[in-house]
Symmetry: C2
Subunit: 364 residues, 2 copies
Amino acid sequence: MDLTADTAALADATAEATRLLAPRYTEPVLAGLLLHATADGLTLAGNDRERAVSLSCAAIAHTEGTVLVPAKPLAETLRALEDPAVRLVVEGSQLAVRVPGARFALPLLDRDLHPGAGAPATDPVAEVDAIALATALRTVAGTAAKDDSLPMFTGVRMHGDGTLLRLVGSDRYRMATASLPMRGTAPFDVLVPAGLLGELAKLAGGTVRLHTAPNRFGASWGSVHVSTAVLDGGFLSPDAIQTSTVDTTLRIDAGALAAAVRRIGLYTDAGGVLELAVADGEIRLSGANQRSGEATEHVKADVSGGRTSPSFQVRYLLDALRPFTGQEVSLGIQPGMRATIVSAVDPGDVNITYYVMPMRAPGR
Amino acid sequence: MDLTADTAALADATAEATRLLAPRYTEPVLAGLLLHATADGLTLAGNDRERAVSLSCAAIAHTEGTVLVPAKPLAETLRALEDPAVRLVVEGSQLAVRVPGARFALPLLDRDLHPGAGAPATDPVAEVDAIALATALRTVAGTAAKDDSLPMFTGVRMHGDGTLLRLVGSDRYRMATASLPMRGTAPFDVLVPAGLLGELAKLAGGTVRLHTAPNRFGASWGSVHVSTAVLDGGFLSPDAIQTSTVDTTLRIDAGALAAAVRRIGLYTDAGGVLELAVADGEIRLSGANQRSGEATEHVKADVSGGRTSPSFQVRYLLDALRPFTGQEVSLGIQPGMRATIVSAVDPGDVNITYYVMPMRAPGR
């Protein structure tokens, strides 16, 4: 293999492939990137047996060929280069990365031990706007659990039917759902690892095509195609959360409420629980701890229904308000230890609902 | 005490006082800030028995008085406020921080347990430009040791005599010196904790006045005055480093060399040691490790004298080049395990010299 490529384009492609592969590898060879140079350009592919990724990059192949090299050192080297063009050429048992005055030589890894680039992409089952998908995933994938103790909570349920894509994520203590428009050709209902979807939200652009295959889910945009094994173990469903006993509804500016919650949060105890008291035309937030003292703040709100007044963990309430920054939100409050339902009063194309559990007030 | 102040100005003053106090307190009351309101405005003071800080802030005192309150909660509360004006008023055993719609109440601490604001500033022994001082301190204070095992290496020697301020810092493995112009009235030679000088470099502006008192060192600018106990245990001196056997001198662009060192650093082993080979009109940097492979880069240099070719720890060599970014540097290389001397070919008012120890080349 011997090729010349634009340094920045190749650095971007390599970085994107490296980020989309899972960060931990059980076998060293799975940390490799397959480079396949043809007259059409360069294809980069990785496969760690759970995730598979492939993308292409323009390149002039002087000699065609395929090599497997360590992904991270290649990505770091390309990112650090300043010359506009770079040459990748096999020299003995090494892939040399050459620019004028410098030579970086990566060891070739054994392709026989690598699972290969993975199956080619199936026809897409749906298309969705990347910006809308990223907006939904930032909240829903961010609400999934980070630890692996209960695998189903590390996934996002992606449910497509006709023209609506619905997402659900939960870590058991709170749940986020989102619905957004899509153009679908076949229904699907899969539980996809949230970690990959979080990366996808940062990297995807334009139109994202969704692909399904037995026990696998894929997404593609531009020349990038990434797929992953899906999770099983039951489906997350917002139907599991009781929402029928809402007796108090607030309409309030999400940013103003979040700013007040942050201030009162400076005066909560280690658990970070603040009390919310619903009054006429306003709510009162309060907190107290031994070190800082005590604090109370009033925030204007449109109050209807009863005066049910829950307490919340500061961090969870801020997470629930974050998707709605700059918007007016509705808080549907239920009595007892039932979830408060946060949604935009005037949602756009991406309709997010956040369910946050109240806490027992400090000292009760 | 009862006063009204501009929120942003009071938040800045409180944050500055809190940052200049040491981050660890042996007694809870030392985490307090003394607020002293008079017809002239507000004075803020802290004293943790090692450091003392005081500064003033414009305020309208409705009732004069002095209180001691926890510094960090006060600083965090003021920083989080959005209203342009804030009222601080004693209410019972609390200091209430009031803005329309909100009240934050900090506990009053026992002033009898606090050492007080500290002695007033003595007459300055020197004046120095804050920007020049900060430039010198960023390198010299940054080179001092972070751990307390040998206290003298956690200090910066500040030596003033006539019109020149000389600074020396070392962690035993490398040493940085700087000299810069000052206007002095009395000679001084003190070892000042580097941690405080690092904060001073970030906060001071305009002209910095230096103050000495028995076993203490102080600095003041604007209304801010900070002082600290000095360290003892001997003086750091560049005279301890042998520099007479320089046989190879390089002149090279500091930024180009640092960029190449960073690239080759991707190919060094865990210890991060790269080899530098001096040739005609250029140097060659090389590194190798099992994971990434091997790398070589040539950088143009003006070489004079011999061809002595040391190896360096990547991190230390980058630290030695950082003060000279954008400038041409001279590297004075000595044979054997003797320091390489890095300095600007054309230094400005602030003249920095960095002494970096070579390492044994990998596998030798």
